[in-house]
């Protein structure tokens, strides 16, 4: 007897993509995630929807996959994507020979490129370095990891898919070399659960080797830490890449209200090692300066890091210093029956956010075949979110400032109706609780009451609360009474408050200078002095 045909482990982009794909094929599936959806690598990246041009020279397979998926995602996930376009910019230090290789690579992968005149380029991006030789336009775009992951989960749910967050897999259960289930622990209430299934899909990303490790199956996943900087405002209107072999600090991505500068690459021992550090920050700033002069003069609101899972066996030069970047970013699918003699277990490792859907399709094809399901993949054909009804949009624009209305509709889709009803019942709830990112009291109240919101950080990921200029200085204390309304679902308010402020502090600490230092002093005054957060409770 099985509870589900399939259990998916890991609630990042790949995991929810697989959940959606399987659910659409009519395969019953449950996704288990140890934290909140998209709390890991799927939200800790630069938010670039690759055109593939970045891989055009080095990794033509990845490049071709990227451009195909780029086109598909712009169609099916339009509400998560901002079609900014992107530029590849050759600075005076970048080799002409590479440019020629790159142009050939783009042609080979069918990535459309167009050269832009420098005069036009400076008009469109006045802050860009004047030390530029050539500029090419590519179909890069930006994508919101949180929104995309949640949209997949919600879409899967409509097809009968299930997910449980804050459920940590303790071990896989074997019966005579065959997977029969998963034992997991509910981290919120400590309950142990047992789920019976025929197939387990390991989409644990950077945690993938730990999952299969519970039954002694080896899986060599390299943890490649990438640190990024978030600037206070959009400094560029489009993605700006340096036209040279991919390296640190060579890409600026305008993401929602901020600009992200990425990325570093450093092998670390575990997925938990995602604390951005000062040397990485300095390196990013030094490299970014080539594209955006006076970079130190622009306000950085935080640094953050994600851990990319790379599969060791694909590495061209294992063990070398540049290991992280040299390992292919193409994904691998590992059938553990073939490798380790364990039936019903498959791991998906590597890849990149842009190709999450393709990875999910490949995995789901394998699973479907295993289960004898012949329904074809249809994830590329159906939009993740249905069109927002015109009257809902009109109503939102009537009740909220247009910025707040537009952003809420993007995030919530049809669920926005619940928020609007709250505001109609009590217009005071139309006020902005998070002023930097324009999130209303009613929206926070709604998200706080969602059954899968367990911590303040979950609300942040769903709304962008606390992610703007003030980094939680003003919204954190404002949100507490709303958490208090949700009886016992959240931890004691002081714990939620401390944890949230400390999470913000983790990203601010490496960038304490200039205006952000002033902001932090103000925050410190509010929490350490007025609210006496550092005092021991009486």
């Amino acid at each position: 007897m099985t509870d589900y045909q399939v259990v998916i482990v890991g609630g990042g982009a790949t995991g929810v993509g697989i959940l959606r794909d399987l659910s659409m094929r009519g395969i019953s599936a449950l996704l288990l995630e140890q934290g909140d959806l998209a709390h890991g690598t799927s939200s800790r990246f630069h938010g670039l929807l690759h055109s593939g041009a970045r891989y055009a020279v080095k990794d033509p397979v990845s490049a071709a996959e990227c451009i195909d998926e780029n086109v598909i995602l712009k169609q099916i996930a339009a509400h998560c994507i901002s079609d900014t376009g992107g530029w590849f910019v050759q600075s005076s230090e970048d080799a002409q020979s590479y440019v020629e290789q790159w142009i050939r690579g783009c042609a080979y992968a069918h990535i459309p490129i167009r050269e832009i005149s420098l005069a036009d380029a400076y008009l469109k991006e006045p802050l860009m370095s004047k030390d530029v030789l050539r500029v090419f336009e590519v179909p890069d775009a930006t994508v919101d990891g949180f929104k995309l992951v949640w949209a997949n989960a919600k879409s899967a749910k409509r097809y009968g898919g299930d997910y449980k967050t804050y459920h940590q897999v303790e071990r896989l259960i074997l019966d005579n070399k065959r997977i029969v289930g998963v034992a997991a622990k509910n981290l919120v209430n400590g309950e142990e659960i047992m789920v019976h299934c025929e197939v387990v899909v390991n989409a644990g990303g950077a945690w993938a080797s730990q999952i299969v490790g519970t039954i002694g199956v080896p899986l060599d996943v390299i943890c490649d830490k990438g640190t990024l900087l978030a600037f206070n405002q959009r400094l560029f209107q489009r993605v700006i890449n340096r036209l040279h072999p991919p390296s640190d600090g060579d890409i600026f991505v305008p993401h929602e209200t901020i600009t992200i500068l990425g990325t570093t690459s450093e092998i670390v021992d575990s997925p938990q090692e995602n604390q951005p550090r000062e040397p990485e920050v300095k390196r990013l700033l030094a490299m970014g300066e080539k594209l955006l002069p006076n970079l130190m003069g622009h306000r950085v609101i935080r640094a953050f890091a994600g851990v990319r899972p790379l599969h060791r066996e694909d590495s061209e030069v294992p063990g070398s210093v540049e290991e992280g970047r040299e390992v292919s970013r193409t994904f691998v699918l590992i059938d553990h029956e073939v490798h380790d003699g364990v039936e019903g277990l498959i791991s998906i490792v590597g890849g990149k956010f842009t190709t999450y859907r393709l990875m999910a399709e490949k995995v789901s094809d394998w699973v479907a075949e295993k289960l004898g399901n012949t329904a074809p993949c249809s994830t590329a054909k159906e939009n993740l979110m249905s069109e927002i009804p015109q009257d809902l949009r009109k109503q939102a624009l009537r009740l909220l400032p247009c910025v707040a209305a537009e952003k809420m509709l993007e995030r919530l889709g049809d669920d926005a109706e619940e928020v609007l009803t709250k505001i109609m019942d009590d217009p005071r709830k139309g006020q902005m609780l998070c002023e930097c990112e324009m999130v209303s009291v009613a929206e926070v109240e709604k998200v706080a009451s969602d059954e899968d919101s367990h911590h303040l950080a979950d609300i942040r990921r769903k709304t962008r609360l606390g992610m703007g200029t003030c980094q939680g200085a003003f919204c954190t204390y404002r949100v507490l009474p709303l958490l208090g309304l949700e009886n016992k679902k959240f931890d004691p308010l002081q714990d939620e408050l401390k944890r949230f402020i400390n999470q913000r502090w983790k990203g601010i600490r490496p960038v304490l200078w200039g205006q952000q230092l002033r902001e932090t002093e103000l925050t410190r005054a509010i929490y350490a002095s007025i609210l006496q957060l550092n005092e021991n409770p009486g």
Partner: protein, 411 residues
């Protein structure tokens, strides 16, 4: 503001909300989310391409209280004005209507209105006094029938006289209010300066551009600034100071004109003075004639918002207090609410009156207690609004100086 400065300006906001706490409009009108929200907060989204409803932006009265308040020196009103311009260029329609656009066209043109009104001032004033006319203006143009439109006088053209080549020179920028509504004050300014040994040059200036800007005609405002600068340029190059008795014109000369792409722009910021700022400088240098006669008068003083924004304190109060017999009570009771043409608009008239109410009440209380009999303030708009709101006579401070010098205007 160039792109680098624009980025810095926005980065400087630490979200403390001091500006919104002090905003006169946000204080009385809950549907205006305040300068922080429509300024720096919304700007981050405007950069993302999400424009705010122009209707909301238009509730900013351009008083600049936010900029004076901001502990981080953010040019908040500047952000809001640029946002209004951006909304206009994007073709975004004020959800209001055609009527408001026509009205903006009219109210922004203080200069043309002035030229028309001063052709036959008595007739204009007569017409504007007829309730039916004002009713029609409200219906067709959306200009409140209750609003205190200033009366027109004979046009101010400076004073024709033979110049003494030995004299020092100043250029006087009279501004539209003096030129079309209060020429006598213009003549008084000239008299006082001449009394101090200056020849006063009054070129045929255009409107400074502030009313145009406030009514969303940004290109025209810059055009006016360019023309005025070309008239000023020879004097600026010769080191001759430019003086104005209007605080809004003064602020424009000091803050807006230096950003105009025209010769003289690099000098105007340092070489333009508020009238009393200039007179105080003369006093400090020992060059001011201080043979004042006693003037037995008690006055209430209101600081115009645009004088505060100049960051020069209240030189007129300091100077009037030097005159024997003069008592000045600086009321410090906030904005009068009118903000140029803001309070003339029918949907904003009540709001403007509410904003000014603490000031009006203070004036009336002081008068009833006999603390003073009349009011003084530099700004023509404030004068009109205070008289309208409190019923107490309000004039430019230059008139006290005229009395102290024993000067009079010969008609």
């Amino acid at each position: 503001m160039n792109e680098q400065d624009r980025v810095k300006n926005l980065d400087a906001c630490i979200k403390c909300s001091a500006c919104t706490a002090q905003c006169p409009v946000a204080t009385v009108y809950p549907f205006f989310p305040g300068p922080k929200n429509v300024g720096p907060d919304a700007e981050r989204f405007r950069l993302e391409g999400i424009l705010m409803n122009a209707g909301c932006l238009n509730y900013c009265s351009n008083c600049k209280t936010c900029e004076i308040t901001c502990p981080s020196g953010v040019k908040i009103t500047e952000i809001i004005l640029r946002a209004r311009e951006k909304a206009k260029l994007a073709g975004q329609k004020d959800e209001a209507k055609f009527q408001h656009r026509v009205r903006d066209l009219v109210l922004g043109r203080a200069e043309y209105l002035g030229r028309l009104g001063t052709i036959w001032p008595a007739l204009t004033n007569g017409l504007l006094g007829v309730p039916l006319v004002r009713g029609l203006m409200e219906q067709t143009l959306g200009i409140s029938r209750q609003a205190p439109l200033p009366a027109y006088h004979r046009k101010f053209k400076g004073i024709k006289k033979t110049w003494h080549s030995a004299n020092k020179q100043v250029v006087f920028f009279p501004g539209c209010f003096v030129t079309y509504n209060d020429s006598l004050t213009g003549l008084a300014v000239v008299k006082v300066l001449e009394h101090n040994g200056y020849d006063v040059i009054v070129p045929a200036f255009h409107c400074c551009g502030v009313p145009l800007q406030a009514n969303a005609h940004f290109r025209e405002a810059r055009e006016n600034a360019r023309e005025n600068l070309s008239l000023m340029n020879p004097y600026l190059q010769a080191g001759i100071p430019i003086i104005t008795a209007c605080t809004s014109c003064g602020l424009a000369l000091k803050e807006e004109y230096p950003n105009i792409d025209a010769s003289g722009a690099e000098l105007i910021g340092q070489q333009s003075y508020d009238l009393f700022e200039f007179l105080w400088k003369l006093h400090e240098r020992g060059e001011l004639r201080e043979d004042f006669q006693e003037v037995l008068v008690s006055l209430g003083y209101h600081t115009p918002c645009h004088l505060k924004a100049q960051g020069i304190g209240t030189p007129s109060v300091r100077l009037l207090r030097m005159i024997p017999g003069v008592r000045v009570n600086n009321l410090d009771a906030g904005c009068c609410g009118l903000s140029g043409s803001y309070g003339y608009k029918h949907e904003k008239y009540e709001l403007a009156m509410q904003i000014g109410n603490p000031l009006f009440e203070r004036v009336q209380l002081c008068v009833s207690k006999g603390e003073f009999q009349s009011m003084t303030t530099e700004c023509g708009g404030c004068q009109v609004q205070i008289q309208h709101g409190s019923g107490v006579e309000t004039k430019h401070p230059i008139w006290v100086l005229m009395q102290a010098y024993g000067l009079a205007i010969n008609h």
